[in-house]
Amino acid sequence: MAEALPHRRPAAQRAFTAATLAALLCAMLALVAGWPRGEPRAMSAALAPAALAADAEGYLQALEPRVFTFPDDHAAHPGYRTEWWYLTGNLQTVTGRRFGYQVTLFRRGLSPQPAERASHWGTGAMYFAHIGLSDASTRRFHSAERYARDALALAGADTDGFWIGDWAVSGTPDSGMDLRVTADAFSLAFRIEPGALVLRGHDGLSAKSAAAGNNSYYFAAPRLETDGTIKLGGQEHAVKGQSWFDREWSSSALDRQQTGWDWIAVHLDDGRDLMLFQLRAADGRRDFAAAEISDATGGRRQLDADEITLEPVQWWRSDASGHRYPIRWRVAVAELGLSGELRAVFPDQEHRGDFRYWEGMVDLKGSHPGHGYLEMTGY
């Protein structure tokens, strides 16, 4: 997920999102790299890991495995501090023009016990969304973001879908979804077919550090057949491909030493789906990692994290932000006999909204070829 280093507008939103993302990241996959590298801001204090840990007080914690019940668990879990709905996918036209997309909704608790309010605007939580479109043929990346409070159904997530304003995904991953988002530069309209749900970690309790207590509840629908239309630059493109859906919620804090993370989701050509992530320490070394392989029936296997290799091979420097990201990785998973190279389809897939991070389409070359998505924060 994104790092908490906003750089564009000093806005209330930014502050919210900063705190939220920090919380999200810490809670799970990730982490607050580099702060406070930017200008000193009042929010810096709120972003301190210690403060985040304190912030989590009063919220429900993901400490024990739970029984997931659907469709209820598709809806929001208000007692937890952070939660998200995460769709990414690789699509192409009949002529082979490739696109990647990301549609993400985040929820963040602002107060563990929201006050009783007479006004319908009263709320204890906020939502924000990031959307991205990668156009491989032009090597252009487009993105947009939105914010809304958890009130009056301005944004929300229930058993029928999730939305923020008119950006909406109706349906659920196990019953099929319709996605509609329109930004200034592009719009997406997809039909996403149902797919198998997979619980991550230990029956859906996913650890985020070696220390106990840093967990999230995590399930996914890794392979969802998708077709629809992308409108871009006045043109309409009919596309087909696969999407990947992730759902997580938690309240816990990150470990102090974690400063960034790399998350990879790949649809292997052999029909299986590989997810792996690592949390990095300040010196760039791996602090914690996990990996899983699953198949279309929902069968899955956790892989031995110690046997995973993930090494940057080539770096790219963003002219816009000045930050460097690894865009080629050497990947090896001993248990699978997998060895190869993960390559960004094109370098510049950097989100430069209120939060800067890299999230884009990648190809896996080598023993187990495939296509997927890579997310890098904290660089």
């Binding site: 939103q13 930014r14 502050a15 009042a42 605007w121 009263g122 709320t123 906020m126």
Partner: protein, 828 residues
């Protein structure tokens, strides 16, 4: 040149009082202009910034109809339509415990970044504002002025309700616009605003950032307007107000210009000898003119500097008054402080210098043209120019009349015409003075009183000088008198209107009562009033806003059970009433009728709950509750087209034998009367007149300045005359006149002149008052005032001129009477 200047200056050094009076008079004239300019500009800027700073980047605004916008409409907009950058606003007026007005501005921080980035940036993390009920943020300036601390509880009154808000953030905006905008504003989350203002489920406004080509259908009863229209409306509303103040300040400046002209002309006349000698020893006319100009410029600069100092202080005082007036009439806001920028200083210097140079130019040009031989002659050439001037006066009067006819709506032309008319009056003075003196002299000559005859003849002999002095003096007294009559006429008209309008015995409202910021009355209170045994009838008032295609209007909705309307300017109650309670009728106040050019039978298109509807104007009423103008409806008519908002005012009639004060006191003790302004008819009338008097405090201040300048110009003119007459008086002494006779002669002359000025100022003042009352007020504000000549003010005006003239003559006459003939003649 230095030498020349010093040679010329010596005369001033010998007449320090005259010099001081001249400089002070000019300074006061400049001060009045500077003060008004500063106060006008500061208040305009404060009010404009207040609107603009809270508008942010919005290109359009949806303004609510009578009961606010349904919040669900905004939600549907957000969920149903992409690409609209919209920010909801819930705002309203609060009062602090000491009665100071504050605006509560409720926003959705998540929607702010694109619409009000400056406020958004200042807010930073707004988490507490959102999650804590009653949490507010305030600008550092307001916090410092109020001595608040972060975390303090702020007790506020919203209508009848008292709320405890908590200061959770102090904002330090980075730009001046936002700083000014936040001066008297509490920012809060929209939920807190709805709860505090009692606007649950409602929005006051939606601010939008849209492409010019974008189309959006506003919700029922609301309108979509360019964001600039709100500022334009405020500027439009207050423009006439500011223009009137500016014109009055220019009047004071005009009087001051006359004073400078007179004083400099006199100083030149006095220095003909030295100028001639300087010319004789080789100074060129150009050098002399340059030296004189330099001297005038110095004088102007000195006057400007003093004027700036006085004007700055005065401006601060006036600003408070102007700000209060705008708060009373247009937009409730505390006032900003006056800021003396470089531009203001420059403007002030230019004003003082310009007036001095223009006023001084005439005598200087004269001095330039005259040959040394002519200069050395004792008296200037006596030409019969008073008749020619009178001709000019007639032409000017004609011009003024024509100017008034050109465009019946132009305020600027009315002011120009007034200026021209005043100039005409000034030009007519010398001839009238000659006639006045001739008549007096003839009368006393026939009566066989040689001394009196001499006294009366004197001013006509030195007409070149006395004519100008008299013009300056009469103009100043007339200005003060004219403005005084105008204000008194206005007040009289207002009293008549209040007496005609305030037909009930007890009035209740939940707000300040005189602006449209009122909050609903509690139903329990209305019921209590209805249930009171002494109450025979209750009328409810609703003060709200409706929207036309271009403009928004204040609407007063009343529900009298029997025919009852404010005094009508067009239409009669009998014919209007049946239509007033009919389907499509609206009654328009005369200000609005004037402003929008509406007449009987015209229609106004308004956005109703059921779309656009045309209402026909069935009557035009007199109205003095603010100058924006109003639409009047009967509640039954209004309810057919709009959502009827809750009542915010109540008028109760009591049975004939009831004691108003007793009933009023009893109702005030009712629990539901908490926070209400509950007043008897008499008390409301008094309160209304207080607002009026407050409104005209600035006018009064300007009148006092004009009067002060007038007195100074009398002193200056008479003193100059007296100095000039000294040699003549000395000659009399040489011929055997006793000091007593000289004394009588000198004071007599001053008296004749002062009396003349006072007397002639009366008709001139009346003329000015007529222009101000009947033309300028009508054109500026649209209301019809009754001109009341105020004979009571005449005698004081005459006496002012007379006494000032006598005081001014005291010292020079005393010196002339005391001097030995030889001394006196040498001095001359």
């Amino acid at each position: 040149m230095n030498l020349l200047l010093r040679a010329l200056w010596r005369w001033h050094a010998r007449h320090p009082v005259l010099l001081a009076v001249t400089v002070l008079g000019a300074a006061l004239g400049a001060a009045s202009v500077i003060a008004i300019d500063l106060a006008n500009a500061s208040s305009r800027r404060a009010f404009d910034h207040a609107v603009r700073g809270l508008t942010g980047q919005a290109t359009h605004q949806i303004h609510a109809g009578t009961v606010g916008i349904d919040e669900q409409w905004y939600v549907d907009l957000q969920r149903g339509r992409g690409g609209v950058l919209a920010a909801p606003v819930v705002r309203g007026q609060l009062r602090l415990h000491d009665g100071a007005p504050l605006e509560l501005f409720g926003i959705d921080p998540f929607a702010e970044a694109t619409v009000r980035p400056a406020i958004d940036a200042a807010l930073g993390s707004a988490e507490h504002l959102i999650t804590e009920p009653g949490a507010v943020a305030a600008g550092a300036d307001l916090v410092a002025r109020r001595g608040w601390q972060l975390g303090d509880t702020i007790s506020v009154r919203s209508g009848q309700d008292v709320h405890q808000l908590r200061l959770r953030a102090v904002l330090e905006p980075r730009d001046e616009l936002t700083t000014v905008a936040l001066r008297d504003v509490l920012i809060c989350d929209i939920a807190t605003a709805q709860e505090t203002l009692g606007l649950l489920g409602r929005l006051s406004r939606i601010d939008l950032v849209m492409e010019p080509s974008a189309r959006l259908e506003p919700p029922p009863g609301a309108v979509l307007r360019p964001a600039s229209s709100q500022r334009a409306q405020l500027a439009d509303m207050t423009a006439a107000f500011h223009l009137n103040l500016t014109a009055l300040s220019l009047l004071a400046l005009g009087v001051a210009a006359f004073l400078v002209y007179n004083a400099l002309g006199f100083a030149l006349l006095q220095r003909r000898g030295i100028i001639a000698r300087l010319r004789a020893v080789g100074a060129t006319p150009g050098q002399i003119a340059t030296a004189l100009l330099a001297e005038t410029a110095l004088l102007g600069l000195a006057a400007s500097a003093i004027g700036i100092a006085i004007g700055w202080v005065l401006g601060g005082v006036l600003l408070e008054q102007i700000g209060t007036t705008i708060s009373d009439l247009y937009l409730a806001r505390d006032v900003a402080r006056v800021e003396l920028g470089l531009a203001s200083v420059g403007k002030a210097l230019a004003t003082g210098l310009g007036v001095a140079l223009v006023a001084g130019a005439v005598p200087i040009i004269e001095a330039w043209r005259v040959t040394p031989r002519e200069q050395l002659q004792r008296a200037g050439p006596q030409r019969n120019w008073s008749l020619a001037l009178f001709g000019v006066a007639l032409v000017l009067a004609l011009v003024a009349v024509v100017l008034l006819q050109i465009d019946e709506r132009s305020i600027a032309l009315a002011f120009v015409a007034t200026g021209v008319a005043l100039a005409a009056g000034a030009c007519a003075v010398p001839l009238v003075l000659r006639a006045w003196c001739g008549l007096g002299a003839a009368l006393f000559s026939r009566l066989g009183r040689p001394l009196a005859t001499m006294i009366w003849r004197a001013p006509a002999q030195g007409l070149r000088r006395s004519g100008v002095a008299a013009a300056a003096l009469s103009l100043a007294v007339a200005a003060a008198l004219g403005v005084g009559i105008m204000v008194a006429s206005f007040r009289g008209t207002l009293i008549d209107w209040l007496d005609a309008t305030l037909g009930a015995d007890i009035y209740a409202s939940a707000g300040a009562g005189l602006t449209s910021e009122d909050r609903p009355l509690q139903q329990a209170f209305i019921d209590a009033v209805r249930a009171a045994p002494e109450v025979s009838a209750v009328t409810l008032r609703r003060d709200t806003t409706v929207h036309g295609r271009e403009h928004s209007y204040r609407a007063i909705v009343v529900d009298p059970s029997r025919p009852q309307l404010p005094p009508l300017r067009a239409g009669t109650l009998e014919t209007v009433w049946p239509r007033f309670i009919g389907d499509d009728a609206v009654v328009v106040s005369e200000q609005l009728a004037w402003r929008r050019g509406l007449g009987l039978g015209d229609t106004i298109a308004l956005q109703t709950e059921h779309g656009w509807h045309e209402f026909s104007v069935v009557a035009i009423t007199a109205d003095f509750a603010g100058d924006r103008g109003l639409l009047y409806w009967h509640a039954t008519t209004f309810a057919r087209h709009f959502v009827l908002p809750p009542a915010d005012g109540l008028a109760a009639e009591l049975s004939a034998d009831a004691d108003v004060d007793v009933v009023c006191a009893r109702l005030a003790r009712h629990p539901a009367a908490e926070g209400l302004a509950l007043r008897s008819q008499r008390a409301l009338r008094t309160a209304s007149l207080q607002v009026f008097d407050r409104t005209f405090l600035v006018t009064e201040a300007l009148r006092v300045i004009a009067a002060a300048v007038a007195v100074l110009s009398v002193v200056s003119a008479i003193a100059a005359l007296a100095v000039e007459r000294r040699s003549a008086l000395a000659l009399l002494r040489a011929r055997g006149a006793t000091p007593g006779q000289v004394w009588a002669l000198g004071m007599g002359e001053c008296g004749v002149l002062g009396l003349f000025c006072g007397v002639i100022a009366v008709p001139a003042g009346l003329g000015l008052a007529a222009l101000l009352t009947l033309v300028i007020n009508r054109r500026s504000f649209g209301w019809t005032l009754n001109l009341d000549p105020q004979p009571g003010q005449w005698l004081p005006a005459v006496l002012t001129a007379l006494i000032a003239a006598l005081i001014a003559g005291l010292v020079p006459t005393w010196r002339a009477a005391r001097a030995t003939p030889a001394e006196a003649m040498r001095d001359g």
